[in-house]
């Protein structure tokens, strides 16, 4: 096991993609999962805080340390088993999503969860219940976790398989491999029906596995996961649509979503519906000079298809688009894998460009990760947009509109603007909560969204969450500072 303590060597572990920096004494880089328990046990006894680092692509400062030590999962990166017949994989938590996808593709298998950032780790994805474009059809990471092996704060290891341990009479009970018993109080909270990565998952009769998914490193270090796989679809339809009028684009989203969810048209069943506003297109023009002039909005649509039905699907989309006056000559159509990668790059580039812009201008990002129930979405979108326009701030909107999920990034250029942005951000969160949505649909709470979690949950709910934390980490030693103020 490598232990790094040189200041320069550990620098890269002290921040994440949110441009937020902390400090730590050293970084442990275990190569075997047994080593993790030992580190945790020692730190627990000594009362040394432990922070967990995946690939550091997080956007809420989740891995950013506040003193103590860091455990990095980068070398716990073995794909242990890929089972083609039973369609599951067992992987260590440091496996990088992109590597996993490549390995599966060679075997004609498919793992849908895809936070736009392919360089993230499976452990990071599970800890944040990551989701992405494909969540529209295939659901978030949570839906694919079949079992977890977790090292708890005290160094004990527990193996949990979905379908075996449930909440009963207000408690989840399980034993570690060494036989130590854990008795965890679970008081159900009213969770939003949207996709969600804010706070613990707490529901009557819930599965113990679900407690760890989305717990942002506060309840244990995920060592290994057993993941559900699907057969690789025969082919993908992938296209980028341009609209002159944003309102027409939004109406199109509504119809496409409804058609797909409710099987209104036998050939239309989108798996992803992603939105880009005018500013997003401006950000992308340098990299994609072919973006047509005058178009103000774009949507990226994907659908899984089998060869036999592809002609009918194309026809159905052509008809639907013509109904909305879209010039199908301007629809970018991926004719193969390579072109599809280009469109994926288009989607990734917008997030990346915003991050680059923020670091280059040394400003702090104020970016929403808000989702609301589908029926409230369009009103909510207009609320966000009007508020932003009114504020006079520079801003950019894109997001997983299939899931009623908005990334609105405000780009303040000085302290005054930053203050205005923060105020607006708070208003948007309040509106999302009022609509029954979440303040964090996929990035988690980490260290930068804690005060907003209080808008979603009552003090009593938050106390219930803290009781869970206390039952599993009596000294508040693991990822202190995440989720709770």
């Amino acid at each position: 096991m490598l232990v790094k303590s040189d200041k320069n060597e550990i620098l890269s572990y002290l921040s994440d993609a949110a441009n937020f920096r902390g400090n730590a004494e050293k970084v442990y880089v275990p190569e075997k999962i047994e080593e993790v328990s030992r580190i945790l046990q020692e730190c627990f006894e000594a009362g040394t805080p432990v922070h967990i680092s995946g690939m550091g692509t997080g956007l809420t400062g989740g891995r950013v340390p506040a003193g103590g030590v860091i455990v990095s999962t980068e070398k716990l990166n073995r794909i242990i088993e890929i089972n083609k017949t039973e369609k599951f994989a067992i992987v260590e938590s440091g496996v990088i999503l992109e590597d996993f996808h490549k390995e599966l593709k060679d075997q004609n298998l498919y793992y849908p969860p895809d936070p736009t950032e392919q360089c993230s780790s499976i452990g990071g994805n599970i800890s944040n219940n990551a989701s992405g474009a494909k969540t529209f059809k295939f659901g978030p990471t949570r839906d694919y976790v079949l079992a977890l092996e977790v090292s708890l704060a005290d160094g004990e290891t527990v193996h949990l398989t979905r379908g075996e341990v449930f909440e009963k009479d207000g408690f989840i009970d399980f034993k570690s491999k060494n036989g130590r018993a854990y008795h965890i109080p679970v008081e159900p909270v009213n969770m939003p029906t949207t996709k969600n990565a804010a706070g613990y998952y707490m529901r009557k009769g819930m599965d113990a596995v679900d407690l760890f998914i989305g717990s942002e490193g506060t309840l244990g270090i995920i060592l290994q996961a057993k993941l559900k796989l699907l057969p690789l679809p025969e082919d993908f339809l992938s296209m980028l649509l341009f609209f002159e009028d944003e309102n027409v684009a939004l109406k199109f989203v509504a119809e496409l979503r409804d058609s797909s969810r409710n099987k209104k048209n036998e050939y239309i069943d989108a798996l992803a519906i992603e939105f880009f506003d005018w500013n997003s297109l401006e950000f992308l023009r340098d990299d994609f000079p072919n973006i047509p002039e005058g178009e103000r909005t774009a949507l990226w649509i994907e659908q899984d298809v089998s060869g036999a039905e592809s002609d009918n699907i194309l026809l159905a989309y052509t008809e639907l688009l013509e109904k909305y006056g879209v010039d199908t000559e301007e629809v970018w159509f991926a004719t193969g894998d390579k072109e599809r990668r280009e469109l994926i790059r288009f989607r990734h580039a917008v997030s990346q460009k915003v991050s680059d812009f923020i670091s280059r201008n040394n400003i702090r990002k104020v970016g929403t990760d808000l989702a609301v129930p589908d029926d409230k979405f369009f009103d909510f979108y207009h609320f966000c947009k009007n508020g932003s326009e009114h504020s006079g701030l520079k801003f950019i909107v894109y997001g997983h509109f299939g899931n009623s999920h908005i990334h609105l990034n405000m780009l303040p250029s000085n302290e005054d603007e930053y203050r205005i942005a923060k105020e607006l951000y708070r208003e948007l969160c309040a509106e999302a909560v009022k609509a029954g949505g979440t303040i964090s649909a996929e990035h988690g709470i980490g260290k930068i969204k804690r005060e907003y979690l209080k808008m979603m949950y009552s003090d009593r709910d938050l106390e219930s969450m803290k009781k869970i934390k206390a039952a599993l980490d009596t000294k508040n030693n693991l990822s202190p500072g995440n989720i709770f103020l």
Partner: protein, 248 residues
């Protein structure tokens, strides 16, 4: 006026390439194919030429039925028609050029676009050979092009600079990155491409002049070695660099 674009169907640079069991060919297992990237610039320039001066864009490709995917993409980008010159056997660049030259003659085309190089064998030679066989002018590695009546002005990349040349039709142009920004195939284009016919004929007979004797991958890089973690390792590092790696 016909404008011909010669396109090759090449392994996607993102797929893993393995050498076949005969040690002379590529193992086709799991290899996906794409339009040769430089040929996309050639297709785009042909479409632009047509948009400016009129004409008909004809795609020509030598190979097997598998090349149809590549041809179909070119049609979806907006080409008008296509000819597949079939040969199930490996052809070297000369034999490919021979087949292309025969077809171009039959089409009576006077503006011919190639990519500057095909990223499978990287010979960078087919366009020039074809021009020679046809007795056409030829400008390679073109990054800017103007065709005005019979007059052709082309800017080409040369080592450390640019060169502007003038010539006249008939001409073979080989396209370099930077010539233009290839358009994406459109939904409308793909629908139309489905209706366009790909004419198939046997490629004109030609003997290969080259034989591939052996194909092999570069030896894998040896894994790195950690000599130590602080200054005490420096003498050993210097020794290894001098005696083992022989770089200092």
């Amino acid at each position: 006026m016909k404008i011909v674009v010669c396109v090759s169907h090449v392994p996607d640079t993102a797929t893993k390439i393995n050498v076949g069991s005969d040690g002379k060919t590529i193992d086709q297992n799991g290899v996906t194919y794409v339009v040769n990237p430089y040929d996309e610039f050639a297709i785009e320039e042909a479409l632009k030429t047509k948009e400016k001066s009129g004409g008909e864009v004809v795609i020509v490709s030598v190979g097997t039925d598998k090349n149809k995917d590549t041809i179909r993409k070119a049609l979806a980008m907006g080409a008008d028609s296509a000819v597949l010159l079939k040969d199930e056997n490996y052809r070297d660049s000369f034999a490919v050029a021979k087949a292309l030259a025969e077809e171009i003659k039959a089409q009576d085309a006077r503006i011919i676009f190639f990519g500057k190089q095909s990223v499978d064998y990287d010979n960078s030679i087919t366009g020039q050979m074809t021009a020679e066989m046809l007795g056409y002018n030829c400008v390679t590695v073109v990054v800017r092009l103007e065709i005005d009546g019979d007059k052709v002005t082309a800017e080409r990349e040369i080592e450390g600079g640019k060169e502007v040349v003038e010539t006249s039709l008939p001409v073979v142009i080989t396209a370099q990155k930077g010539l233009n920004e290839p358009r994406y195939a459109s939904l409308k284009g793909i629908m139309q491409a489905k209706k366009k016919k790909i004419e198939e004929k046997d490629a004109a007979a030609a003997d290969n002049n080259l034989e591939i004797v052996k194909m092999f991958k570069p030896a894998p890089k040896a894994p790195g070695k950690i000599v130590g973690e602080d200054v005490s390792a420096v003498p050993e590092l210097v020794r290894l660099l001098r005696e083992e790696a022989k770089v200092i």
